[in-house]
Every structure is written in C-alpha cells, then in structure tokens.
Point group: C2
Chain length 282, copies 2
DNA sequence: GCGCTGTCATACCCGGCAGGTATCACAAAG
DNA sequence: CTTTGTGATACCTGCCGGGTATGACAGCGC
C-alpha cells in the first residue's frame, strides 16, 4: 500500500487536463514516452484504469475523475506546505490577505487600521485578486486569510467569521432616468430599456446566459456603466469605486451579501488568530 | 520554486514526531545517514532551518512546527487521493460511513434504512471508530462521510448537515437514590456523593482534570457505571447501549449536542450526495 | 582527564529508475 | 496506399536515493 508521489500526481493532472500525452509532456518540460510510462506505472500501482486510450484521444474514466479532483487538492496542500513554511521562516511573521479588488473598501480599511493598532501586530500584505480567486489562493498557501463574499465565493473547507451583511445596489449611468429612483426591484433592474445587466463569471469560470456584456473585473464594469452600455447589481460596499459618471440605487429584493473572513481550517498562526479577534470586535 | 515530494514530507514528519533521527529512520525502515541527508536537502531547498540540532536531541523551529502541521495535512490528502481512487474503481460505488461506536443508534438506523430504500442506493459500509477519530478517517480517505457530534468533534474543513439536536442525560447505577429524580442540574450531577463524573478524552487526546476515572469508550463507561464507581453525562441518543444496571436522568442545563453528518468539502460523489439528500429529509 | 556511549554528519559506493532518443503500431483522413 | 497524428515499446544513460563505514562531538561515569 505504497503512497503516491507528488511527481506522479503532477503528471497525472497534466495529462488529465490536456487529455493529450504529447501536450502534457511539453507542459511538464519532458518527453512523451517517460510520461506515458509513468502514467502506466501509476495505473498499475493503483490497480485502476484511469484513462481510456482510444486511438485518437484520451478520456478520463470515473476513477480518473476522482483522482483528478483529489490530486489537485493534494498538490495544493503540498505547495501550501512549502509556501507557508518559507513564509513562517522569513521576516518574523507576516500575513497575506486576499481580497477582491474594489470590494468592501471601508470594511477592509477599518480592519487593517484596527489590526495595526494592536500591539505586536504583524505586517499585513494585501493581495488583490480577481473574482473568485480567493479560495484558490488560500488552498495553495499564497494567502493566509481572505475577504470573501457569500453567496458568491466557495467557502467549503475553511473556517469563517461573518463580518457584515448588506443589500445590493444597482449602478447606473449618472444621467439615467432611473438614477433618481429611491429603490428598484430585481425585475425592474433586469428590464431597463437599453441597459442590460452585465454578467460576471461564476465559480467555474463560465458566464450565466443573458443579454448583457461579459465582464471580469470591477474596472470593466465601471467603464461599461459610465459608457451607458450596461447596468450592474453589486453589494452596497462595492460602492467605493463609484465614478462621477455613476449613480447607485438600492435593489429591494436582491439577495443579501455577507462579507466574510475565511482562513484554512487547520491554521494555528498567532497573527491570524489576532486578526480574527480584531475582526470579530469590529 | 520546486515542489516537495511526498517522500520528503513523510521523512520530515517521522523526524519531527520522533525528534530523533535514529528512531525515525527505524520507523521508516531505512538507515539513519540517508535520512539525515534527505532532511538537509529539504532544508536547503526550502531555504529554511526546520530543526535545531543541539547535540543530544533535536527540536523543531517555528518554521518546523508549521511544516509539521502542513505536511500532515498534505500527506493525508495524498493518501486520501489513492484510497478514494481505488474505491471509486472497485465494485461500482460504495460509501464508507464512520461513526462513534454506540452513539446515535436510532438516527443511524433510520438513515441507513431510508437510504437503502432509495433506488440506486450504493452499498454502505459502517466503520465504527473510537471517540474523535472520525475527522482523521475523513481526512485520509478511509471514510467518505461521518456522523459526528458537536460540540465534541472537530468539523473544520468539512461540509456538514445538522441532523438532530438533543439534550444530555446522566447515567447512574440503577439503584442509586438519584435514579428516580425527574431531572438533574450539572451542579448536582457533579456533586453526587461517591459518584464522580467519568472523564473522556478531548480532541487532542488529553483528559480534562477532575476526580472521576478516565475512560476511552462507551463500554468502559457502561461498566464503571454498572459497578457503581462513576456516573456519566452523555447525549440522550447514546441511551441505546444502556444496561439493566443503568438508569438515565435528564440533565436540565447541560449543553445541547447536535448530531451532524460531515463529509470532505470537495466531494462530488453521487451516492454521497444522495445520502445527504436522504439525511436532510429525515 | 579518559574512555564510553549516544547522537547526528560526512565520505564513499552501488543499483534502480526517471528520463532521453529512436522507433513501432495503428487509426483516421485524403 | 500514403500521410499524419497518436500513444506504446525498446533500449540506453546518468542521477540520486539508499546502504555501509566512519567521523565529530557532547555528556557521563570513574
């Protein structure tokens, strides 16, 4: 019952993702034959067929799907081990906080200020990342803690602390007739003539269907709205990046958004514990 | 930024746990010199000192502590990958459910019955384990899902579904004067003359202080109570294993215990999803 | 102080296996 | 039937993981 080596897992993930031995080998910086052999060995050692080689193409078996998912998690865990160990050794202690660019401005500012006021506060590095990337950064050790937003982000596997629940607002071009309304319903927001709701990616990177333009960060949204090409519905705290050409109107029936602090479940870092403590008292 | 091999992690964990290269090498089934060399290489590659070799003994540095924790998690993840892959390939699908021996009898029976009644139900193997072992079994892939009890078990890192919340009862020898009482308070239970409360291990394996005997499973508890040497306070559903020599009295102010279904956060197994679905409808 | 013992590090050797190159086998396309 | 693209096979080589023997050094008993 020998244990799998990370090398084998890396190879398998490459092949499973490319579904092509040649390209996978290239990505791994090696030749194709040893890669084929390594995968065969892996299959023999597990006693399981992972790939259906069907001349002209490779497909994952059910067991292969399982291994792909598990192997990714295991690889993330090992790289996280290396990263966190290196970080623990360097420069005393230091926290890396991942957050979506532009979101929860005031909350983040207050949190950092309050934490910095603590005696023995560690240095906090803020890592701005794209939508939905926080979980990945936490899992592979690039971040120690993250500000995430329910129900948008995937929190499974983390410890969390809710910080703030808030409604959402519709952001419109400043001169638009609806900009002076006191509030809107989702139905109204979805049906503004000439202003489709912009779509942003879901957890898996795909976009929901709809007429609006696809965007991938707040800067794109801001510009599209300022240009009068779309409207967007966002948490009220994302307000901070509003331009002069924007107006915000509360959306009465949009789902509430909770800003949450999340960190790896097994973390025992003292500075992190202190940051969480500060956050709860905010 | 090369990635760590599981072999290195295994070696490091052995040394970190033994704090002795010789014993660690023996445990790993190898000679001591190559182990020393491997650890040195690991330290060089990470650019971090993990161990303070201080003639006569080895001690972990702060970075070493971090790596020990992270390495254990990573190793669990890789062995889980192997186990789950093998299991996915064998015998169609099959679920392994871990539970504390003797706890939540009726609930477990109902759950298994309801699940078995489903069309396309997978085979469920019930794995009885000791107190607090469920989390480990889930983490290293020996189990797919577990029945755990809040606030006793460590649920960090898992998805969960609460099934049942209940009070606790004091279990006494059948003939004891208090056995006929309608209810007790914690203060009263803690102060029964000649009957100290038995202590069971906490998450880390240590015992809380107190006058009562230390026990490690329900059979020991049962016997101690039947012998008139101790009383215990347990969730009402653990009732099922009561002997004729026992009597149970509700404890009015004991913290409520919730029986919870827990599973690895990233699991995507269809039979598991079905089991969770059945559980929520229970 | 002088061995003795227990500990980790060093020196050196060897065999297996990861990786490379060349080639094969085969299926689909034309 | 050739061409093209694919993964598998055959075979070689060098590196590195592992073994043995030994060194360096701290504490201990006398």
């Amino acid at each position: 019952m020998d244990t799998l080596e990370t090398r084998e897992l890396r190879y398998f993930v490459a092949v499973a993702e490319e579904l092509h031995f040649g390209r996978a080998a290239e990505r791994l910086g090696m030749a194709q034959p040893p890669l084929s052999r390594a995968i065969q060995q892996l299959e023999r050692r597990l006693g399981v067929t992972l790939l259906d080689r069907d001349r002209r193409g490779v497909a994952l078996t059910a067991a292969g799907e399982v291994l792909l998912r598990e192997a990714r998690a295991a690889l993330d865990a090992t790289t996280a081990a290396a990263r966190r160990t290196r970080r623990a050794a360097r420069s005393g202690e230091r926290l890396v906080l991942a957050t979506k660019a532009g979101a929860s401005h005031e909350l983040l500012r207050d949190l950092l200020d309050a934490y910095a006021a603590e005696p023995e506060a560690a240095e906090v590095e803020v890592l701005m990342c794209g939508i939905g990337e926080q979980a990945r950064l936490l899992r592979d050790g690039r971040a120690d803690v993250a500000l995430v937003h329910r129900p948008f982000d995937d929190l499974s596997g983390f410890d969390t602390e809710d910080l703030l629940t808030e409604g959402q607002v519709a952001v419109l071009p400043a001169g638009h007739p609806y900009a002076t309304r006191g509030s809107l319903s989702m139905a109204e927001a979805a049906d503004v003539p000439g202003l489709p709701i912009a779509r942003w990616p879901r957890l898996d990177g795909t976009y929901p269907p709809g007429p609006g333009p696809e965007v991938k960060d707040q800067a794109q949204m801001a510009q599209l709205v300022a240009l009068g090409l779309a409207l967007i519905v966002i948490p009220a705290s994302a307000y901070a990046w509003l331009w002069a050409e924007h107006a915000a109107v509360p959306v009465s029936d949009a789902p509430a958004v909770t800003t949450t602090l999340a960190w790896p479940a097994h973390s025992r870092s003292l500075p992190l514990a202190r940051l969480v403590g500060v956050a709860t008292r905010l």
